[in-house]
């Protein structure tokens, strides 16, 4: 049993990123616990029978639109011998059939067919008391909001609206405003670091002014921009809200940003032909939603980033870029172009995936060390700036209670 050092969360022990027992606890209590896990967008499976395969924690699930149009999230595991029955990431089916003994399931997970259930020529067959309805695919609880789909292994989940809380709900609805979404595509990368490093990265806006030359130089996200760092009442969700500088001239803040290149100019300026599209003045909102979702709005690129843990020392980051059905062709082209900022080759996010690799290398064999998380104090309150690690402290405050640490 591990003991968290001290009372607060301004120090984070390195064993939370490496210990297999901690990781096993996370699969059970974080991803498998009382959490709404993001599993996809409705626009990925628009028609009845459309499905996608994804994961809740490490558990493979099928997200499928049933004949009635309702969305089911089913454990991708045959009730007979446990095989993964769906072997494609996207597709369309009327039923799911296990290849081994051809047990067949309806789109709502109900077991509809068992070959040789009454035997062959009087031989074999299932026992008299075998009931098909006792052997359906396991169903997860499902909720949707404005096109985003969430699932939970817990049966007694609060509503998504209560789960997000009023402050985070407003920001969620800013991007997911009810307009039909249009998928632009998916990017996937396996990052050799603990999954929590991804949340820390987004909950730490202070690094962005130092690490990301691209953001800093073009004023997309800078410590001297008007900004806020906000959490829900539990601290598990957070948002960074900022406005692009129009004055890009050097100042006292940029003097400390070694990455600031005043003279840099793009050869193809279309990369940053940003159009205002939301009613408020924010130009970037990065929202993190416990336990596995980041909602990204930077310039005109919109994406969900789904965190899928792969053991204690790696995770898959699945980016789903999208726009709205009512985007015109120019906006669609702009979103695809702005997507260069993000993803596995992103002008901005590339720095992050490399840094997370370095972080995991650094802490990999340090049993007793701890990270220092004291920028902006030791508390967990909201801040009206981004020179702070308060959202990381708030995250670990909730994490400690969820994990019993």
């Amino acid at each position: 049993m591990r003991t968290w050092p001290g009372n607060g969360t301004h120090q984070v022990p390195y064993w939370v990123y490496t210990d297999p027992d901690i990781y096993a606890g996370e699969l059970r209590k974080v991803f498998g616990g009382k959490s709404w896990n993001y599993v996809g967008l409705e626009a990925e499976i628009p028609e009845p029978g459309n499905f996608k395969r994804t994961k809740v924690g490490e558990t493979s699930v099928i997200v499928v639109r049933g004949k009635d149009g309702e969305i089911n999230v089913l454990k991708n595991q045959c009730a007979h011998r446990g095989l993964e029955i769906c072997r494609q990431d996207y597709g369309t089916r009327r039923t799911f059939q296990c290849p081994y003994h051809q047990w067949t399931y309806r789109l709502d997970g109900a077991l509809s067919g068992v070959p040789f259930i009454r035997g062959v020529n009087g031989h074999g067959g299932m026992p008299e008391d075998f009931e098909r309805e006792d052997h359906n695919l396991q169903r997860l609880a499902v909720t949707t909001r404005h096109g985003a789909i969430f699932a939970s292994e817990a049966a007694d989940m609060e509503s998504l609206e209560d789960y997000l809380g009023p402050k985070m709900l407003v920001l969620f609805d800013r991007v997911f405003d009810g307009r039909p979404l249009r998928i632009l595509g998916v990017s996937r990368q396996r990052i050799p670091g603990n999954w929590k490093l991804m949340f820390e990265n987004i909950k730490d806006p202070y690094h962005a002014s130092l690490l990301h030359v691209f953001l800093v130089t073009f004023g997309l996200f800078r410590a001297d921009n008007p900004s806020r760092t906000e959490m829900d009442s539990t601290g598990r969700h957070s948002a960074l809200i900022s406005r692009r500088s129009t004055n890009l001239a050097p100042n006292t803040a940029t003097q400390e940003m070694a990455s600031f290149h005043e003279k840099l100019e793009l050869h193809d300026k279309r990369l940053l032909d940003i159009v205002k599209e939301f009613p408020d003045s924010a130009t970037v909102v990065m929202q993190t939603i416990w336990p596995n979702l980041i909602v990204q709005q930077q310039a005109n690129t919109l994406a969900t980033r789904q965190i899928v843990p792969v053991g204690p020392e790696a995770f898959d980051l699945v980016w789903t870029f999208f726009g709205y059905e009512d985007d015109d062709e120019a906006m669609r082209a702009r979103r695809l172009r702005h997507a260069n900022l993000m993803g596995p080759a992103g002008f901005v996010s590339l720095d992050d995936s490399e840094v997370m690799d370095l972080a995991q290398r650094g802490i990999h064999c340090d049993e007793s060390g701890q990270a220092l998380v004291e920028m902006g104090g030791r508390g967990t309150e909201d801040h009206d700036h981004i020179v702070t690690e308060t959202a990381i402290r708030a995250f670990y405050s909730y994490y400690r209670s969820a994990m019993g640490l």
Binding site: Q189, D268, A345, L350, D351
Partner: protein
């Protein structure tokens, strides 16, 4: 075209592909954009997105200028762990297409991070359009690298 002209064209296209790999692997990468026409485009995409009919690219450069921006970022802006790549190209298929040629070829890209073993980073298909530019040199009007795997090993730094 005569058989000899076909053979000469093939040799010239193969030289363009070899030069492309050389500039990405051995450098100078800053010269790589010069293999594209001024209105030339470069895209790295995954088979998954192609199959789903989704236009998203891992890298999308819609002009030589955008390719220059990407190369500048690789050399000067991005924080990356030092690495070396090795691009292997094989099985060129060349078909005349209007003012140029549609060229398909298989590729494999090996990646070696500092201090680590070499791994196969990506394999896939080039779907390109090659044209003879105003100065008589063959260049890419379009180069699309389609990666077989959708899952990138951490970061895509050097173009496929």
């Amino acid at each position: 075209m005569t058989a000899l002209e076909d053979w000469q064209l093939r040799a010239e296209i193969e030289a363009l592909y070899a030069r492309g790999a050389e500039l990405l692997d051995e450098g100078p990468i800053s010269a790589w954009p010069s293999l594209f026409t001024e209105d030339g485009s470069y895209k790295a995409v995954t088979r998954e997105n192609v199959d789903q009919g989704w236009a998203l690219a891992l890298m999308l450069c819609e002009s030589r200028a955008a390719i220059e921006d990407r190369v500048y970022a690789i050399e000067h802006l991005s924080l990356t762990i030092p690495r070396r790549t090795r691009h292997l190209t094989s099985g060129l298929r060349i078909a005349a297409d209007g003012s140029g040629w549609r060229v398909e070829a298989n590729f494999a890209v090996f990646e070696t991070l500092a201090g680590a073993q070499t791994v196969c980073f990506a394999a896939g298909l080039y779907r390109d359009k090659v044209v003879r530019d105003a100065d008589g040199v063959l260049r890419f009007l379009e180069r699309t690298a389609v990666s077989d795997s959708a899952l990138i090993r951490n970061s895509l730094v050097i173009p496929l």
